[in-house]
Symmetry: C2
Subunit: 497 residues, 2 copies
């Protein structure tokens, strides 16, 4: 397919937001539900989420956390308690006020008002901290390290599939520690779990760092973050890990008798990762032909399409496709058997091939009667779609598959890194220059920042924010890009999702 003719009706350059939606439609990943801001995650989208979930769940367990489950509803009194000590507390939540439907004049209406309203969890700190208080008495009970996979709701006025939905799926980890050092170590470790998931598994390069005070999670002492760059030059916060200090523990009275016999207030952390990252995968990897998925993340790595002209050799062709799938599954890549799928639907083979390429499957193979005799297979590689498949020797294709997928994964990471490199500048040194930059373009600006909290407000005018103070610092001295004060700290400035 030539660069002029693309599989999607709109390109990234023409309209990034429309292109994003077109990728989702073409890959059949999700759709709007009719309920404001709530999406239906369709099988292909959900399979991608299950891949992320399985890998992250394994990592969360391997680092000593136990899964559990807390109620979806939070009494308004607990929210009240939290709100009264948390500044910047967001208030867009779904609120349950009744527990029965009744028919009045042939119409169902809410009946049986609750004595006190319940809030649908926007996150579970308010519910989990009181439970932790009940569970923890002594230093022997610490650390407590729990996690839950759940749906959460934050009312969204301008929803977008995956990126910003009123209901989304996520995991939220909550831990309690005897002292700050341990809690901060946990906070950093979990950020590193996210970093590895996003970089090594999803092939999305990120900048790990700490949030500025203006961008911190409400109530946190430190918010650690990984920031990724989308193909429109904007940042997407891709996972956060919060050191909450004693703020939540003090409000919920999570106290314990320490080794020295003294009653102390515990230190807590929380960290979360959501279906939003499916949106990031699209915005980092998809192209004007649809989605592209890295081999470690993708539900299927190889899809095999039989080419049948008439019924004559149908059985032989299907058998060859199934045999190829079995041979591939007997091989492994990244410690998992190759995920191969044979598409036997009653559809035209060109339609099938394009279906899978738009869904982002790395390799689509076609086998027809002629290939049977020649012991060959036509391989379409999603890295860079070409009109015809490349004919390869079948045995070699099978032998080489782990290496081919490994190269594919590396190449996707390199492409994303290269794009980010091209879209990052470090020569913007004044507020005027920063204003000019963000009025004309998007991208990451790496510049000095004084740390002066009031200075963050200056960014609002042009819609940018400090994304993070990267862990990796140059250590050089210079002038704050916002205030001109002398400064040694590097920060990343960008417009963000």
């Amino acid at each position: 397919m030539s660069s002029a003719k693309r599989a999607l009706p709109v390109t990234r350059r023409e309209d990034f937001a429309e292109w994003y939606q077109a990728v989702i439609d073409a890959a059949d990943m999700a759709e709007a539900s009719g309920v404001r801001g709530c999406m239906i995650i369709k099988p292909w989208g959900y399979k991608i989420w299950e891949r992320i979930q399985r890998r992250l769940d394994d990592d969360i367990k391997a680092t000593g956390h136990d899964n559990c489950y807390f109620p979806i509803f939070i009494p308004i009194e607990l929210i009240q308690k939290e709100a009264s000590h948390v500044e910047g507390f967001a208030k867009e939540m779904a609120i349950v006020t009744h527990h029965r439907l009744e028919t009045q004049d042939g119409k169902l209406v809410p009946a049986a008002p609750l004595e006190s309203p319940l809030v649908v969890r926007p996150t579970s700190e308010a519910m989990i901290t009181p439970a932790l208080k009940r569970w923890i008495h002594s230093y022997r009970d610490l650390p407590v390290k729990i996690n839950q996979w759940a749906n959460v709701v934050r009312w969204e006025l301008r929803p977008r599939l995956f990126l910003r939905t009123s209901e989304f799926l996520w995991q939220e980890g909550h831990t309690v520690h005897a002292n700050a050092e341990e809690a901060i170590e946990e906070t950093r470790n979990m950020l590193n779990v996210y970093r590895s998931l996003v970089e090594d598994f999803m092939a999305i390069p990120v900048i790990p760092g700490v949030k500025s005070p203006g961008e911190r999670f409400p109530g946190a002492v430190e918010t650690h973050t990984i920031e990724a760059m989308m193909q429109d030059g904007r940042a997407l916060q891709s996972g956060t890990s919060h050191y909450l200090g004693q703020n939540f523990a003090r409000a919920a009275e999570i106290e314990f008798v320490d080794r020295d016999g003294r009653l102390k207030i515990a230190h807590t952390t929380s960290w979360g990762f959501s279906t939003r990252l499916i949106g990031a995968t699209i915005m980092v990897h998809a192209d004007d032909d649809g989605l592209r998925l890295p081999p470690r993340l993708t539900p299927y790595q190889v899809v095999i399409v039989p080419i049948m002209r008439g019924e004559a050799q149908r059985g032989d062709v299907v058998a060859a496709c199934e045999a190829l799938a079995r041979s591939l599954r007997a091989q492994s890549y990244a410690d998992e058997p190759i995920r191969a799928f044979v598409d036997l639907r009653a559809e035209n083979s060109t339609t099938k091939r394009w279906n899978w390429l738009k869904k982002g499957v790395p390799l689509v193979c076609e086998i027809g009667p002629r290939d049977l005799q020649g012991g060959q297979v036509a391989v379409h590689c999603r890295l860079d779609i070409c009109a015809r498949g490349v004919t390869q020797n079948l045995a070699e294709f099978i032998t080489d598959i782990p290496q081919v997928l490994g190269n594919f994964q590396t190449t996707m990471m390199e492409q994303a890194r290269r794009y980010r490199h091209e879209m990052t500048v470090d020569d913007v040194t004044s507020l005027d220059a920063l204003r000019r930059y963000f009025s004309e373009k998007t991208g990451f600006v790496r510049a000095k920042w004084s740390g002066n909290p009031a200075s963050e407000d200056l960014l609002k005018e042009f819609g940018a924010t400090i994304r993070c103070i990267p862990y990796e610092q140059s250590g050089t001295a210079g002038r704050c890009v916002l205030t001109g004060e002398s400064a040694t700290t590097d920060a990343i400035f960008a417009k963000a999702y």
Copy 2:
């Protein structure tokens, strides 16, 4: 521990409901949350759910279903549409009426009323059927077979942990077919998936059958069920699979162009399995010392407790425990590596042993300094707790473990079957006798039923119901136990959860 002294403060015989709660407390599986009817599933309870979930999810995928995710909120209009064609529609639901909190006089109150209220899903038919209508146009699109893992809410006035909670976790499968035969086959196949899960995996014997009209899912043409007997002689419906006929499809206009070119209404099914079955596991398998878990279900099959007297041989003992765990993990049972866990907590070893026995772990091993020299291990078997562990040769214990676990699983199933057999009668032949039976005892009564729908109401007086018409029928003729009419159908009558 002698039979006189038991680990729980209350026995099954003394108070079954209190005993049930005591098992949950002693095993640290779940607790009340402070939100009416909503529970906190703690790590041990959740690990059990994850075992069930993984096995069932594999089965659901292996039978050709795709997971996806639908919104938690359902517009009241869709509920209205469903209610208007579904008789017996339950109305206890959580209703969201506002989407913001505002502070008034220092208190948070609901603000920003929704134009139209949203219902928190009690099940997702109302949401999923309209989506299926959008997705289905031709016979080529059929069958559609989807599943979702989700939380659902049904307001409960008398909640009990796991058994009856306002919020619970479940999977709900929804499928669409071109004709009744296929849909009925699907309904039966999925019931069989549940039967195999409950019997082969959870060691709970069940009676598969069809519900009487009075016990059917509202809107269903046929409800298939598996019914289990608890240790108080009551029945627990342990999984249901519904053939919905064209009822939901007609209301939602799920139509397709068939091979013959004619527009037809589709046939749908739905089926669900929930955290309630954790309650069933307790009520079938636990004893007066706490939970007992079958080897295929349990999160850990063997827990190893080091016995350390002083610090002298501490390192050697811990090393021996870890080595035992590794040797066990290298063996497999039921196609999975043995799940062995070494408990290194700073706790006294007797406390640890009882912790794990009350949690239902099949085998608890203790290794102390003396065992090191003798190459032996003390094994406590949860089938029947004895005061001392049985000392066994370490190498033999490792070699025999798959067989020991296999016998353990079989024995638990046999024990449950034997109990059910003892608590089932088939010589109750009149309404008077049935009334007498249920006023004095609990258990299953297998008797003839005419099928007369009005006759089911006669059972209400003594709190029993028809649990199912078993697939397995004797084929003999007799008189209906309710009406005295001649009847050939066997039915199971019982009090139920």
